[in-house]
């Protein structure tokens, strides 16, 4: 009797989570496993996909410098985007946190605003401003005689970094904001009473305490930027490809699904390794601040 009850209570959590687990397995794990398997299949222009196990795709990615360049560009853009959001987002969050009630909620809305607009619309906005000879800013600057040719923005890495940083900024600000909320409201007064000036307070007291927030924001921004599709697709187009747009092209234009699967798998594995690795590093390094 009691054993049956014990068994039932042991089974209950599984039964209760079964629908969610099934969904998780069905729409995430199985497709993921199939993608990994797909990357080992063969493909030919006329024969299509052949379900055999070969390392052709992986060999191609490993040896052709085209793919190395592509991945290197992807991570370079992601790193620069992360740096830019940290550089602008952390001070932004700090200033926001010091504002008084009404202004604070207003500017918080301004910062979160981009999240309310589709990423495609936001990126197209950048294209409208800086897109070649017809871009608004370019037109204005050229008609004023400030410059002869349009600012190089479209199809450049700079343009991609700027547009991505704009899209990712809320994640960094929110993450630093959360760290700032944990600060003792008297901590700046405490440092001041001990003789510290404003610059010292920020450098020695505030910065070390919000650094974990900056780093966790950086992980979010980095992984989202490295796997971003819409922004690189619009700004970079087919001229300046990154890993995500490359995989997309292999799947939908070349129709070389196995190669596209290999690119997607490599991107996923690289991202997981980077994120898990840096997360472990941060948690160990800042154990005292996180507690």
């Amino acid at each position: 009797m009691s054993m049956a009850a014990g068994e039932r209570s042991a089974r209950a959590p599984w039964a209760l989570t079964a629908p969610a687990l099934m969904l998780f397995v069905g729409v995430l794990l199985i497709p993921l496993a199939m993608t990994v398997m797909l990357s080992f299949h063969d493909w030919g222009q006329y024969k299509g996909i052949e379900p055999v196990f070969i390392l052709k795709n992986w060999h191609e990615i490993a040896t052709d410098p085209y793919y190395a360049e592509m991945f290197w560009r992807t991570f370079r853009i992601a790193i620069l985007t992360t740096l830019l959001t940290a550089l602008l987002g952390a001070p932004e969050a700090y200033i926001l946190n010091r504002m008084s009630g009404r202004w604070k909620s207003f500017f918080l809305l301004v910062i979160l605003g981009p999240l309310l607009i589709s990423v495609v619309a936001r990126t197209l906005g950048w294209a409208l401003l800086f897109g070649g000879n017809n871009g608004l800013v370019n037109k204005l600057l050229m008609s004023l005689g400030v410059m002869r040719s349009p600012i190089p923005f479209m199809f450049t890495e700079t343009g991609m970094v700027v547009a991505l940083a704009h899209v990712m900024m809320p994640f960094m600000v929110l993450s630093v904001w959360a760290a700032l909320q944990r600060l003792d409201p008297q901590i700046e007064n405490a440092a001041m009473s001990l003789g510290a000036g404003p610059a010292t307070i920020i450098r020695r007291i505030i910065m070390p305490q919000i650094l974990p927030g900056v780093l966790s924001g950086a992980i979010i921004v980095f992984s989202l930027s490295a796997s971003a599709f819409a922004t690189p697709a619009i700004i970079g187009g087919r001229r300046l490809k990154v890993a995500a747009t490359l995989a997309y092209d292999e799947f939908l234009n070349t129709l070389n699904w196995p190669l596209g699967a290999a690119v997607a798998t490599l991107l996923l594995v690289a991202l997981v390794l980077i994120v898990v690795g840096s997360n472990a590093l941060i948690e160990r390094r800042y154990a005292e601040v996180f507690r």
């Binding site: 003792d184 409201p185 008297q186 901590i187 007064n189 405490a190 440092a191 001041m192 009473s193 001990l194 003789g195 510290a196 000036g197 010292t200 020695r204 007291i205 070390p208 305490q209 800042y286 005292e288 601040v289 507690r291």
Partner: protein, 346 residues
Amino acid sequence: MAFLELDGVAKQFGAQTVVDDFSLSVGKGEFISFLGPSGCGKTTTLQMIAGFLDPTRGAIRLEGKDLTAIHPAKRGLGIVFQSYALFPHMTAAENVAFGLEMRNVARADRAERVRAALAMVGLAGYEDRHPRRMSGGQQQRVALARALVIKPSVLLLDEPLSNLDAKLREEMQIELRQIQRTIGTTTILVTHDQNEAMSLSDRIVVMSQGKIEQIGTPQETYERPASAFVSQFLGKTNDFAGMIDRTATPARLVAGSWSAPAPAGFNGAVTVSIRPERIGFGDAGLSAKIVTRIFQGNHWLFQCDSECGPAIVIRQNDGKAQPAEGDAVRLAWRPEDMSVRARAVA
């Protein structure tokens, strides 16, 4: 000359006056408590001394120099915050060393002073602990060491013991008093705990609604409360309505069936305040009935229903027989144990 002087200090937030006409002079080495309920302006006053707030009116002087003209970082005051406000990313030693670093104290000298300060608060051996790995009491000691190591001219304590449990609080009170006596730093303590104020301070400033109600030694404020607020706030008290009877010669003060020769300077309706431990059971006096009798170890607490309203009586447990619940008793006290205030008659 006064060491620290507050002269007509006031603070307004918009139309609201939080502190009004606060004047106090503190002697060197004195331990002063600002005592009052929350929202009475005691913390605001402390923050004005610290420099986190600027007074709307009035002057604050330290050794004759205008303190409000000096930036908070340059005032050289030691402050212990209610939340301790320790730097969580630094060890105990680094926390304590911070103020010395800001003063460019040489490294070797700094290490020695940090070690001495932590030893003074009983935390020798805890140098490398981070605050979040310490108990509330230990964090409190680090905060105290951090404030004292810079040899502040004045030590400001903002409800430093309110986050500790009762037993630890009592221990820290004794320790705080000993440390303050040893190093002789002028200290201002903000508290809402009357026991804390009484056991620690040389003088207490009782505050209510932004105003000073009374400044005096713990004994003065307890035994000779200047206002009804002070007598109610500092411990338990009995307020009886009385009358000065000028028809008798000499004039007498009458409260119910209790009477005594009238004190000078009063006329008509008065309020008589007596501490519960100063009332005895006698053959004559205010007639009352005992409603409840509570045994509290070293003393008995009686709640009585007297002809002048409810009354509390505390008697030492000296082994003698005490009246039981329901007994009719007479309450009597010596005239010198009471304080008399004029009473407005509606």
